[in-house]
Every structure is written in C-alpha cells, then in structure tokens.
C-alpha cells in the first residue's frame, strides 16, 4: 500500500516583505519539497487560527530552497494578515502537494504572463523550464508599489497606472513579438480570458492556473467548481491548471 498522506507540520525558516503587502515565506518541510512540481499548491492553516478560520488556505508553490517550500503571498484577509507575523521557528500545518501540474515543454519559446500575485506559480515553473526552453516572463501590476524586484530573472514588469493595460490589450501582438510557442498565465480572470483568446488567435497553446473558494482541496466537497466547455470541473483536483481552450 502507498504511504498514507498526512497533514504535515512545517517550520517557518524566514519571511520578508518584497512589495506592498506582499511577502515571501519559507517553510521547512523536506517531504513536501521532494514531491512538489510546478502548478501544485499546498493547503495551509495556522495553529493559532484553527478555531476562528477552520478552512485551510490554498497557496501555489513559488519556489523551493533546500528543504523549504516558498510561498509568495499577498495580504488579503484573516489568515494572510496573521501570516505576516510568523517568525522563524513558528509552526504551520500543510496539506499537499495538491492539484495537477503545468505541462513542461522542451525546446520551445515560452511566455509566462502573471497578473499581480498570480505570478507566484509562474516563477517556480520558470525555474523548471529554463534549462530546456527560451522563457520570458511578463508581470502586470496595477501600481508601482506592487512591482517586485526580480534578481536574475527575465521579467518585464508592466505597471498599469503608468502604461495602461498593456499586458492584456493587443496581447496577440506581444505573442508574435516574442515568437512564443506556448503561453502560461495566472492572474485576474479578465486578463486570463484575453490571453487565452489571443493565444488561440495566434495559434499557440495556452495553459492557465485558476483560483476558487475551496473547503477540502482534494476533490471531495465539490465546492470549488468552475464552468468549462465540458461542464463543471473541480479547480482543486481537475486543476488548478487547465488548458485555456477548455475555458474560453
């Protein structure tokens, strides 16, 4: 019989603020690090919040560092606010890895397009693609304060309030400019929809990573469904990665 899955207790090894209300937290959990692949997410809960906030919070894997997973997160509500106060040595509960994974092409020109915090899973994907592909990353943010500093990464940042919704509008042109053969996107729904449609027009494959309200994260509550061309699908277990053509 396969090994039983369990909730793991991870230990915070560090955290830093990287943009306005945006943090990277590293959590040591060696078993998880061995299992994760780009696209996966983990379900997190904080022991101090287990009565107030029962449901676990889903976060994409942003990266791994030795025996720790890294999460890039934006402060949103109850749990992410408390998360910012976690310090080295604090414990968190982790369930994962959950969900499916991104396709890993080889010898292709790949364009990764992240909107806001949606860039998180794309950075981990970049890490696994860069050796065998030519990869570029576009990061769209609304304000200068949300822009992040990307050391050693081929990221172009577009600040909406300075240059308009460049990342979305005329995206077909962007695809052609980059001669992209495969596009991957994660961010707000209207942005992803534009990109999926532009990719289809340009005849390029496009994968998206979606979000939904979740209760379980492993396919049993039926709470996280999204409408697709072939009926409702569960974001947590049929996704979070979907072929864009299935959605729009």
């Amino acid at each position: 019989m396969s090994q039983r899955k369990q909730i793991q207790i991870g230990t915070v090894v560090g955290q830093s603020e990287v943009a306005a209300n945006t943090f990277i937290i590293s959590i040591r959990e060696p078993q998880l690090v061995r299992q994760v692949k780009p696209g996966h997410f983990v379900n997190v809960s904080l022991p101090s919040r287990t009565n107030a906030n029962l449901l676990k919070r889903p976060f994409s894997i942003y990266g791994t560092d030795k025996e720790a997973i890294q999460i890039l997160y934006k402060v949103k509500g109850d749990v992410t606010t408390v998360m910012t106060t976690l310090q080295k040595g604090d414990e968190v509960e982790l369930l994962g890895p959950l969900g499916n994974t991104f396709t890993l092409p080889k010898k292709k020109k790949v364009l990764l397009v992240g909107g806001g915090i949606g860039v998180a899973p794309l950075i981990y994907l970049y890490d696994r693609l860069k050796a065998h592909n030519e990869v570029k990353i576009l990061h769209g943010v609304r304000t200068r304060q949300e822009a992040m500093v990307w050391a050693n990464l081929p990221v172009q940042t577009h600040v909406d309030e300075e240059v308009g919704h460049y990342v979305c509008a005329g995206f077909e042109k962007v695809i052609r400019q980059h001669e992209a053969q495969h596009v991957v996107t994660c961010g707000p729904i209207p942005m992803m929809k534009e990109i999926v449609e532009a990719s289809a027009r340009a005849g390029v494959s496009c994968e998206v990573s979606l979000e939904a309200r979740m209760a379980c994260g492993f396919g049993v509550c039926l709470g996280c469904v999204i409408e697709t061309k072939s009926g409702y699908k569960k974001v947590c277990s049929d996704g979070p990665v979907f072929d864009g053509a299935l959605l729009w």
Partner: protein, 301 residues
Amino acid sequence: MVKTTVQLGPLTLQNPIVTASGTFGYGVEFADYLDINKLGAITLKSVTLNPREGNAPPRIAETPSGMMNSIGLANHGIDVLMDSILPKLEAFDRVKVIANIAGHSLEENVELAKRLDQVDRVDAIELNISCPNVDAGGLAFCQDLPMVSRLTKAVRKVTLKPLIVKLSASVPDIVALAKTAVESGADILSLINTIPGMDVDIAKKALFFKRGSAGLSGPAIRPIALKAVYDVAQSVDIPIIGMGGVASVEDVVKFLLVGADAVSVGMMNFVRPSLSGELVDQLSAYLVASGETLSTLKLKA
C-alpha cells in the same frame, strides 16, 4: 480491548464513528489519509436518479467556526454509483456503507431505494429530507409532516434494509418531525443537516450565493445540534446518529451523553482528512481512561 460495537436497531457498527453524507465523498477518496475499514460506517454523498451538475459557483464560504455550502446535491446519478463506485467499496469488509438518497419527489426516492435495495454492499439507506440547497424536495419535505409520513412509508415499503431518516433542525418542532418519521417506519434517525444561512458580497451589493441561502455546518452549529439530539432522544425510542460540528473526541462524547447512539463527522473531514480514524482510537482510549462503557455514557439523572 474495550467493547465499541453498537447496535442501531437492525444495523450493527463496529464502533459509533460515522462519516456524514457529502463530506466524505465515496470513502475511497479518503483511503490515502486513513484506514476507512476501521470506521463504524461511512455515508455516501447524496444520490439522485439522474446525474446533477449542482449549483452555480460560488459554492463555499467560510464563517466563524464553520462554513456554508451551496453544492446543490451534485452527483453522478444512481447508475454510476451502482456500476462504478459501490464495487470499489467491496474491498472494505468491516466498515458499514450507508447510501444517502435525495430524490426531489416521492417517486424518485422510491425508485432510488428499490435500486439500492438490490445491492449487497449497501448496509443501510439514509433518506435525506433536509437538504437546504435545492429548489424541489430537500428541506421543503421536512417542513411538511404529512409528506414526511408518506415519503417514509413509501420508501419503507420497498426496502428491507435498515432505513435512516435524516432530519433538519430548521423546523418549527423537531420532536414532532422525529415522531412522524418513527411512526412511518424509520429504523434510525440522523440529525442534523446543515442550517440555512446567508452571506453578502459588499462590493457587488449582492447576496454571496446565487441561490441566496446556503447551508451552515461545523463547530458553529454544534450547540444547536446537541440540543436537537437531546430533545429528540427524550421523546423517541429508536437509535440516533448525531452530527453537527464534531471536531474532537470530547464532541463525540457530548453527543453520546445527550442521547446519540452513533456520531457522524462532517465538514471537519475537510479540515483534517484523517480525523474520523483518529476519533475511533481516541474514543477507545477515552473509554479505557474513564472506566466508562458506551452504555454508561448517559447524562446523570
């Protein structure tokens, strides 16, 4: 080894820990997290004759110490359940399987019960007359006592399997409801289902759920569930499966003390998938440590 077997009328469970419909899939999904064969029983997701897509999203909202759901009885339909899901449960020989039926009409429930009556792997049938998330049937049944009586009698007639009737606490008089189900042929009662609630999206100035109302579950409803079980246990003589916010072995003991004969774990299966299996061990440990047996767990007079 302490004795944990419980007799729920015609249904014998190896221990009183059960999982609640809609919160444990079809059991097999949890095999990664615990040995499901050690549970007293698992209750399958509600089934209908035809497949149901369920309600439009969003379907989930967190609440203080709980959650609301508006799943809307999404399921693959009875054919898929019988042909491809129940056979997978053959491998688990000790855990009892309760099939939960949620037809929108009397006729549909009768048909479902007839079909499931033929299946050996189904150990009991639970008639769900208390789902708050559908337009036809569901909770509306519970609010109509003559209907509860007709429904229960009709289903009773077509199956020899133990019949559980699942009640809502969102009724004017749960004792009257329970008595109606018992007089109409229920072997066992289970309670409570989720409680209708609501959330509001401030930014959109709209109700959060498309149907407006959704079902509240979790520790938030435990006090209501304990009182419902207490009230019903005082006035009917058949076994009760108690549920509503069970999160720990202390909660299990509380339900047993107020009169439940078995206890079902619901939404906490999502939070801690291994919980039901842990509760089996913890209940045994509790009985040993306290010197109690399942039959001495009663409120003091």
